[in-house]
Point group: C2
Chain length 341, copies 2
């Protein structure tokens, strides 16, 4: 017999435990993030589930229900530090810039207007997806002079979406929601953009939240292809951002996916990002340091806040309406990359 | 007992047969492309081999030797039309623009100089890798007004390469060599570049050659991280390009991989592209229509050659010094994408 809660009939949380392999081991995590259970016997890797969602996800959900009822026989304590990214590597990571306030701030700080078509056509870049950082992994950089910055983002993982899909059709293809820390090296950006080929070296490996959740798991907080919750960013123990992720997301995830689908299909396991969460109300703080520096430049002519240094920490988290962490926290420390011969 | 030919002790050709699954079925192909053998019992998917190269590749090589000796018991006729891309999907597809003649032509046609740092720092963009076209698959586009163009390129597939690797270290990480048709939608380029985030919609699904070969398989033609053979491009049955891929590749593949590794690791199964093969000697023809149009613009003030239309075909191939096809041919037809509701 299948147990279902009303409005949550597709609700579940998934994570990937590190086990020394490239893709890790799939676990189902309880709603309160207290316990977990290996998905052994159903699927070993998350990509496998995304490849065959209709067959495998109901089985994972049954396990999720049992786990949430406290009846799973081999449940164990869930330890986020054991996690890789839910997808330790992926076939696609395409990141948007859907909060136009962020784009406006960046442009205003260099006295550039916002072209009107930026309101109709999302900005997106193709990110590297062969190597993601776990949610609690150190973030290694060869130089602290590169302008090391975090970016707190919401992301979705898709199933297959057809070439030419509409935003509404694309919404149907969303399987999971996660948070991301889209590490950015700000001082490498200008030279790369001047070359015209887009971001590359300035976008090193991205980290994702310990847990990926189905849209149903978000309940009413998932509306219109947006997550209506608060993104909390805590830098060196100081809460620097409490930005609303919902209302000011100018392009919803269906629109972002449809943008990708204009000239090609999107295949299962693709990760699509919102870009830095940003609000017009500056008192809500910031989800990346670059934005703080833009505000300082607009207000005082120059940036004052330095970028991250070795030893700095960043914590990115989102609480549900019940006050509990939905995805678990991304907690990372900036460290020097090991030197090579 | 392991049979080895001198200078070819790591030589083999691999392909992926379509079998209805997302990753297809790995086959070993004979040097003359006449016969093939399933790699069953060794590995079912190419990514698996790249993930565990040192253990699995010697076993595939043993099979390759047996196949080339005509002694493989279950060999069958190799049919390129049965092939998916050697990697039907990949964790990374990063494409360079290593033939600076191509960059110079494009810039000269719009009367722009070539910045000197373009000679020291490779241009690269991150491509989509969740969905590749097979070598003989039709290429579907929703509109023939998008400026449909082929791009004949050389690509390599890597193993793991460390963060901060030098070009020489990166060369050691090259596992396989393939050809690519990097489909481009030229009329979508200007608007995307103006947004500053790089190529996206203008780069739909890429196609790769039927066969991927080890550098050893290329023998003397693999030198200095470059393939010293001729790239043949045949458009609607007319040979439009016979460009030398070796001497004018300004950045070799080790340099391109090291560019990616400046701020992150590169993980097994990453595909790195050369960009359009291009020669200073215009009589050698062209490896993409855009270049022909640039030459026409420089010579006569405006482009004359139209981009591809529905029904057009493109064939991309490279012969070894023995006159035989090394990778098999990419043979594709441009077709209208099926309409969607």
């Amino acid at each position: 017999m299948k147990a279902c809660k009303p409005n949550h009939n597709g609700a579940m949380k998934l994570a990937t435990y590190k086990d020394g392999s490239r893709d890790g081991q799939l676990v189902v995590v309880s709603r309160d993030l207290a316990t977990a259970h290996f998905a052994t016997g159903i699927a070993s890797r998350l990509q496998q589930v995304l490849d065959d969602w209709n067959f495998l996800s109901p089985q994972l959900q049954d396990l999720s229900v049992t786990l949430n009822q406290g009846k799973a026989r081999h449940a164990f304590e869930f330890v986020p530090e054991m996690c890789a990214s839910p997808l330790p590597r992926a076939y696609q990571w395409a990141d948007g810039s859907a909060y136009l306030n962020h784009v406006e701030l960046v442009r205003a700080s260099r006295k550039a207007d916002m072209p009107s078509h930026f309101r109709e056509d999302p900005m997106m870049y193709q990110g590297g997806s062969d190597d993601f950082l776990g949610p609690c992994d150190d973030a290694p950089f060869a130089s602290a002079d590169w302008g090391i910055d975090f970016e707190s983002e919401v992301t979705v993982v898709t199933g297959d979406v057809a070439n030419g899909a509409t935003p509404e059709q694309a919404l149907e293809g969303i399987r999971l929601v996660m948070l991301a820390n889209d590490w950015s090296l700000r001082h490498l950006v200008p030279a790369e953009l001047a070359k015209g080929f887009g971001f590359f070296q300035c976008k090193p490996a991205t980290a994702f939240s310990p847990v990926a959740v189905t849209p149903d798991e978000l309940g009413d907080a998932w509306q219109g292809g947006r997550v209506h919750l608060t993104m909390e960013s805590t830098w060196n123990g100081v809460k620097v951002g409490q930005c609303e992720a919902g209302p000011e997301m100018n392009f919803h995830f269906g629109q972002l996916i449809a943008h990708v689908c204009k000239t090609r299909r999107v295949r299962a396991g693709s990760i699509i990002g919102s870009g830095t969460v940003s609000n017009k109300d500056w008192s809500r703080g910031y989800s990346c340091i670059a934005e703080k520096r833009c505000i300082e430049t607009i207000e005082g002519g120059e940036p004052k806040t330095p970028y991250m240094q070795f030893g700095d920490t960043i914590r990115i988290e989102m609480n549900g309406r019940d006050g509990h962490s939905v995805f678990g926290a991304i907690v990372q420390k900036v460290v020097p990359a090991r030197r090579r011969a």
